[in-house]
């Protein structure tokens, strides 16, 4: 049942099947960025600490720097490119801009993925629940207050 080092698999990202041929040890973020070419997902610490690489796997947030790409086959991967509604920004993206929750922007895609997962599970989170939902995402610019505010605004509609 063993298979060779190089694996040819399909990865479903944002509803599209992408055929890729990759080493079995490749992490998901590198495959999404360099094989599939979706560069919205960022690589920060590469150590499962900062959350810049956050994607959704079957709707749940996962650090894609520390997840083997081959383990994501057969599952629905969602990246920040997948949250837009056509050409229209997701309300959370609009609210992040309006609230001043984006400064350098490097953490933003990961924040959006964690926040969308939170809001789909809990559409009316308290500030404390928002902070717990975002607790795997580091931001070194904003001080978090405006990001929390943007998520709260999105929840309030």
């Amino acid at each position: 049942m063993s298979v060779p080092l190089k694996l040819s698999i399909d990865l479903n990202v944002n509803g599209v099947d992408y055929p890729v041929t990759i080493d079995s040890g490749r992490n998901l973020v590198s495959v999404i960025r360099t094989e599939i070419g979706l560069t919205g997902t960022k690589e920060g610490c590469d150590d499962c600490e900062c959350g810049a690489c956050m994607v959704l796997l079957d709707g749940q947030p996962v650090n894609s720097c520390s997840y083997l790409a081959v383990q994501a086959q057969g599952r629905a991967i969602t990246t920040v490119e997948g949250v837009m509604n056509g050409a229209e920004m997701h309300p959370l993206q609009r609210n992040l801009l309006d609230a001043g929750g984006v400064q350098c922007g490097f953490c933003t895609p990961g924040m959006i993925m964690s926040a969308t997962a939170l809001l789909s599970r809990n559409p009316t989170p308290t500030d404390e629940e928002i902070r717990i939902g975002l607790s795997g995402n580091l931001c070194r610019c904003t001080g978090y207050v405006k990001i929390v505010e943007a998520v709260a605004r999105t929840a309030a509609g």
Binding site: V3, L7, G25, C48, S66, Q73, S114, L118, S135
Partner: protein, 300 residues
Amino acid sequence: MSFAIATTLDEALAALAAGARPIAGGSDLVVAARHGKSPLPESIVAIHALSELAEITSSADGLRIGALVTHATLMEHPLIASAYSGLADASALVGSPSTRNVGTLGGNVMNASPAMDTGAPLAVLGASAELRSSTGRRTVSLADLWVGPGRTSAAADELCVALLLPARPANSGSAYVRLEYRRAMEIAVVGAGASVVLDADGAIQSVAVALTAVAPTIMTVDGLDGLVGGRAIDDETLGAVAEAAAAQATPISDVRASDKYRRHCVGVMARRALEAAARRAAGETISIPVNRAYGIGAAR
């Protein structure tokens, strides 16, 4: 080098017998490899798709928690939150939401870190690990399983398939607390789990306390039934337990804390864990995790 995704347990066990190492969520294995601590194993069998290992089943004997049950599931499972609260407290403190989504209880136990949060509550709840190989099945107490930092007594071809937790007696409660410098993505500076059974008068019928990050493995405090059995939960009793915990700990100094600080604080954590466990045993509901309910650890 080889990689396969097992679709049945037998397939996974055959791969282990042939020398493969298992991967579930990868939150220890892949992080260690990316970090350069230890490369990925040459041969890997992914077990994440074995849904029969992701079940929680309850019987008269107690609870059987499949090895693939995630921390995210454990912290919100109604039966665990109510009857095995200490395990829910610990699961809620692990990493971040994403860590808890991929991190599994079996992986946590077999990674055998002395700083693992779920270890102390599992120990005080009397858990044992069910190990399977292509040639058999055995059940091992956690005290026999954990033999050193990152080391277990399991053979290379054995897979942890479940944790077995005995049924909880009436008037019992458990809790886990940890000293932390930040609220997420934290490794316990020290921690303590406690389980207590109270008699009709509210006195201690039996008690267990286990400690996190103060010894080469999760360690259980010896002699507590003799020390405080039959006594009420009061300042003197809690103080005696704190003193015993601190005295028996063998902490090291490292980047997170000095040995002296750890020894002092693990006593404080033991005291608080037992107090919370006793309040739960008396019927009080303390929200999960106790760290947040008590305001222990990092302020926001």
